[in-house]
Amino acid sequence: MVSTVIVIALVLVGGAATAAVFNRDPTRQALVLSFLGLSLALLFMAVQAPDVALSQLAVGSAVTPLMILLAVRKVKRESTDQDGDESESP
């Protein structure tokens, strides 16, 4: 029974990682990435490593996607600012 849970968690991790690779838009990718974090936490719990699962939960399901979203927002804002400058300058 234990191995069944481990296999299911492994399949979920594989599926989430593959989906994260095939999503090219960073905003959507961040959501899939939080799924990957959650699946990894489930896998760690299934192999009875609760401390690793706890840290993976904090980092993988909240912090990493938040960093990506913040970075995407900043990059977009800077690129629109540059576009505005270019259109004003001539």
């Binding site: 029974m1 234990v2 069944t4 849970v5 299911i8 968690a9 979920l12 599926g15 989430a16 989906a19 095939f22 999503n23 905003t27 959507r28 961040a30 959501l31 899939v32 939080s34 799924f35 959650l38 699946s39 936490a41 489930l42 719990m45 299934a46 009875q48 609760p50 699962a53 706890l54 939960l57 904090a58 399901s61 909240a62 996607p65 938040l66 979203l69 927002r73």
Partner: protein, 139 residues
């Protein structure tokens, strides 16, 4: 044969798997709903696994996820500019959480651990309700 782990496995296959499929291909709002559902299902799976392995400290992960999950969903809602209402999450939390927390409480018996399980259940229901009730809330 451990029934708790079997329940966790069934929950992962029946709810987490489909949520992952939706999160991989659907529109951003539906992905957000899937992410919300996955945090509820994940926390319930943690509870069941803690019971299945017979280690009560494992429930801490469920507690952390019950707090972090709705917070994460609200952060995504802030960035995507929309908080979609969802009956799936609302009913999933209203039906699924008591269906798991009840038997776990019965197995744990009265005491401090039971209070912890009940707190986790209340957090999950509250989080699911806050992030999925119907209303025109944007950004």
């Amino acid at each position: 044969m451990n029934l708790w782990l079997l329940a966790a496995a069934v929950l992962l296959v029946a709810a987490f798997g489909p949520a992952l499929c939706v999160a991989a291909v659907a529109a951003p709002e539906r992905r957000l709903i899937a992410q919300n559902l996955a945090t509820v299902v994940g926390a319930l799976a943690f509870l069941l696994m803690a019971q299945g392995y017979g280690r009560s400290p494992y429930r801490d992960a469920a507690l952390v996820l019950a707090v972090l999950g709705p917070a994460g969903t609200l952060v995504y809602a802030r960035f995507l500019g929309v908080l979609p209402s969802s009956r799936t999450v609302l009913y999933g939390a209203a039906i699924g959480v008591p269906a798991v927390v009840g038997p776990v409480c019965a197995a744990v018996g009265p005491g401090r651990e039971m209070v912890k399980v009940l707190v986790i259940g209340a957090l999950l229901v509250a989080g699911g309700t806050v992030t999925s009730v119907k209303g025109d809330r944007h950004g």
